[in-house]
Amino acid sequence: MNAEVTTAEAPAAAAAVADAPENDTAPAEERAAGHGAGAAPAPAPKETLLAVEDVSLAFGGVKALQNVSFDIAKGEIRAIIGPNGAGKTSMLNVINGFYHPQEGRIAFKGQLRRRMRPHFAAAQGIARTFQNVALFRGMTTLDNIMTGRALKMRRGILWQALHWGPARREELEHREFVEHVIDFLEIEHIRKTPVGRLPYGLQKRVELGRALAMEPDLLLLDEPMAGMNLEEKEDMSRFIIDVNEQFGTTIALIEHDMGVVMDLSDRVVVLDHGEKIADGTPEEVQADRRVIDAYLGVPND
């Protein structure tokens, strides 16, 4: 196994080695235009929150992402779609620093960096959920969501060991915020239930709650509705829209259900075999020849 693969396979490793991230000063606005050979990129009238520039990521011989560029405007719901293995999850992992691309850069809030690191991404306001629910199984719903406040709580370890005074007050303050999140997601009835015991649909909701507790500026959702029944999907769609509208949270959404994508998203980027093949409004993308081929499995080239 070569060194490249090892690094890529060890996202936690890279994250733990938290030396100062490189930080160039080139302005984010000098982004290359969309690389998609499909529909022309839709105009982005709003301020750009995140820009992915020429990102390439490989695991040994597997090219998970190849020169992918796109942007996410502040306040929008941006869908990332594509067949299985297209590189969608890898893209999210690059954005929040689990994977470090061999090439390319990422600009978040105008700050350009070669690679993100999970801790930095979280501190900057990027929250996420996982394709395979990644909850803390031994903990209750409440505790799981409380972990979302980790970066906002500041009291030192000594106060905490005593569980007294300022540490205790701080705990209660954040608890209050978390209770709002719980109300918002309508999961009061499972506050004290260990999440390992919850049905899948509710686990996904708790995971969303944990991300929301971070009060993120950018929320990355990796197939939040996979494996859900129709009713659960409708609930989840409603929560996503409410988060976006009520809190103004920008959302990047990976989703397979085309109906959901068309309903929710402002713009869609389409990946296939690690390449961006289309970028535009849902209608534009849906009509794109390459997208249709990719989904029907017609070999291109």
Partner: protein, 312 residues
């Protein structure tokens, strides 16, 4: 002396020994939960902490091993400095050992802790000398008159102090891990590394905290053992007793470590006294391992360990 008070005495003395096993096992569990590392060096950490504490109390000059009373610290200061030393040790271990080896196979991390055990043992020798040391913290000695007068039971005062200290330590740790942000972060890391990273929990910080706490627990274990038997190499072997405790209690369960330690402490004392005469004694030496074997056969996840279930 009645048959019954004799029994109680045996149980109490077993509990006292058990507290010791619990403490060492607790150090194992903490580290295992948070970083998946089976820390072979836990016993040597207790030895190292004990040596450092005695050295500071006696004003031993590191590397030279002569005592200069002018440098001797009072007990409270010596304990604080030793705690600081264990924290520094935790930071060094995170930097030099865990970080470069992160995401390696568990067996590799285990091997690294084997190495760590030898390094620490050597460091202890080089810094403080290898002779047997008397640990005098001014803890009360002798039998508790009160217990003797009231119940006609013989208990050593130091054992009572040890049990109370361990009880307090365990309570503080339990609150810390259940109710605080850092405790939650620790449990989060134990459950899912990636998810923990995604909410901004720093693995390095958690590892340093966990190894520091394990170091402090080791110090307390070292003090208890050392106050009775002196600080010497055999102290590091208590780690071997912790292994059956872990099998009994489950590798990831803090209550399991505590209860497991107590069961083994009491079990081996009672077995020695009541079954010993029939098999020629020395049951204390192997009872724990025997019990562990039985558990491995019938309840491999331990008393409190999470059930081993395949996810479908």
């Amino acid at each position: 002396m009645t048959e019954f008070s004799f029994f109680i005495e045996a149980v109490l003395s077993g509990l006292m020994a058990g507290v010791m096993y619990s403490l060492v096992a607790l150090g194992f569990v903490l580290i295992f939960k948070a970083s998946g590392v089976f820390n072979f060096a836990q016993g040597v950490m207790a030895l190292f902490a004990g040596l450092t504490l005695v050295g500071l109390l006696q004003g031993t000059i590191p590397f030279i091993h002569t005592n200069n009373p002018a440098f001797a610290l009072p007990p409270w200061a010596a304990i604080l400095v030793t705690v600081a030393v264990m924290v520094v040790l935790a930071i060094l271990i995170e930097r030099l050992m865990l970080r470069p080896l992160v995401n390696q196979e568990e067996i590799i991390l285990f091997m690294a802790t084997l190495g760590l055990a030898y390094v620490l043992e050597g460091a202890g020798d080089i810094l403080w000398g290898s002779d047997v040391k008397v640990l005098d913290l001014g803890l009360p000695q002798g039998a508790s008159d009160w217990m003797l007068d009231t119940f006609n039971i013989y208990v050593e005062k130091i054992e009572v102090v040890a049990a109370v200290t361990a009880g307090i330590l365990v309570t503080v740790l339990a609150i810390f891990f259940q109710k605080t942000r850092i405790g939650r972060a620790l449990r989060a890391v134990a459950d899912d590394h990636q998810a923990a990273l995604s909410v901004g929990i720093s693995l390095s910080t958690i590892w340093i905290i966990v190894w520091s706490v394990a170091g402090i627990v080791a110090l307390v274990a070292g003090i208890m053992w050392g106050a009775k038997s002196g600080i010497q190499f055999s102290l590091s072997l208590i780690a071997l007793k912790a292994l059956p405790v872990l099998i009994l209690g489950g590798f990831t369960s803090i209550p399991g470590a505590i209860v497991g330690g107590l069961i083994i402490g009491v079990g081996e004392k009672l077995a020695e006294i009541y079954a010993g005469p029939y098999v020629g004694g020395a049951i204390e030496n192997w009872f724990a391992y025997m019990l562990a074997l039985v558990f491995l056969l019938f309840r491999p996840q331990g008393l409190f360990g999470e059930k081993i279930i395949e996810r479908v």
